[in-house]
Subunit: 232 residues, 2 copies
DNA sequence: ACAATAGTGTCTGTGAGACAGTATCGA
DNA sequence: TCGATACTGTCTCACAGACACTATTGT
């Protein structure tokens, strides 16, 4: 039997000698559908939190990076082949996150246009579907683990970054109209915007094409592309 | 021997059955000293990267949260008793970060006024000292692991948040003069500021006191405090 | 012609940046 | 009185916000 001092030394400096937490990656796949910000959630088919909604996630394997683990899970869950916007959000390490054992979760968020999503129901899950983010956050339905908190954190991050970055572009395809893009901004910011001001603001980030599109009736819109897509 | 399919199933869904990475917390303790942004680094006394500079860090114990692990390490390393500004930065999970084994590192940064630091040399370390951040980042000295990348990331974060938040206040004490605070902003942003403009900008966040202070010679400065400190 | 959506011109207020000026100390 | 630092007033210009206006389609 080792002395208490030796034990302390070992547990602090030699990670081979003491218990390790599990490391998971949870991912928030956001999209815009029917004029609402939505996120992919799964309904759990096992304990704990059976029948509850949860963020999809995977455990990190020894031969993959965190981002690779996230992409693997996202590909499985949402059937996305192409390149997508992926950003590490935050790492959650509370002791009682998971009642079974100590799990540290690194959360990633992906922003995708809705037409790129093709999800199939995953294993050990009752359903996989898109849910209205605001309704889930302020609703009464119980979410598994600390996933409501994570979703709330991500929602704030999106709102903030919409103000000072161009992440909103990730919700539209390569080609888009300015009314479409403005609608995305309005949904993310939760407020209406003036057309003229919006166009002045994003003018430097977009380039007009020759193409027009009639979405429904009335005057058609001009199709634009992102500037950096052109430069490449 | 289990079948390949069974193996896959287990490795994906039952974290008890497969190998886990180690989880560490690395912390960047920043302060301002001699008109420079500085960070606490240790010189390693063991392999790998023996004699190299490294960020201080600890392995996360099973009975402490990530933030508790960071605070424990910071208290040991920098002798800080009081409450300090602490912010999670990013989680680094590349496969070859540590040549010995798979280590996932959650990085935290702390911002402290220099008069609160009282560091003693830690165990298994040759020295613990403050280093000029810009010199380390652009210098030639080898840093252990991916710690130069982490330091660079933190430096950018500080610069960005100085623009749109009040984190700079964490480098001064409870009481401060506006010339002192302006100097902090200038160091963090890497550029000179106009007195009048600076004062207009921060006017809403500070409250003047009756006290004055003569730092050296010439006209003394008025002492200010943060607004939220007064409200509490 | 009219309804509905796409797109533009312009006024105003706010705030950052630049700089000149005044105030108060020690020597 | 002078040098050095603390502090203030104000001009300019860019830009976000608000709103009115014109343009182009389908019915």
């Amino acid at each position: 039997m080792k002395s208490r001092e030796e034990q302390k030394f070992i547990s602090e400096y030699n990670p081979d000698e003491y218990e390790r937490p599990s490391v998971a990656v949870d991912f928030l796949i956001f999209t815009i559908e029917d004029d609402r910000l939505k996120v992919i959630l799964v309904r759990r088919d096992e304990m704990p939190f059976k029948d509850c909604l949860a963020l999809p996630g995977v455990f990190v394997k020894m031969d993959e990076t965190l981002e690779e683990a996230a992409l693997r899970g996202i590909r499985e869950e949402a059937g996305i082949k192409d390149e997508i916007y992926l950003e590490q959000l935050y790492t959650w390490g509370d002791l009682d996150r998971d009642p079974r054992m100590r799990v540290i979760s690194v959360s990633y968020m992906a922003l995708v246009p809705s037409d790129r999503l093709h999800f199939s129901k995953g294993m050990r899950v009752l359903e996989t579907a898109l849910f209205d983010v605001d309704e889930i956050i302020s609703g009464n339905e119980e979410l598994a683990f600390d996933h409501r908190k994570i979703l709330h954190y991500a929602r704030e991050r999106i709102r903030n970054k919409t103000e000072y970055s161009d992440i909103a572009f990730n919700f539209v395809g390569e080609e888009f109209t300015l009314p479409q893009l403005q609608r995305v901004y309005e949904i993310l910011l939760g407020k209406m915007l003036y057309k003229a001001n919006f166009r002045k603001k994003i003018n430097d980030y977009v380039t007009e094409t020759e193409k027009m599109i009639s979405c429904g009736a009335y005057r058609p819109s001009r199709i634009y592309v992102r500037n950096d897509k052109l430069i490449q």
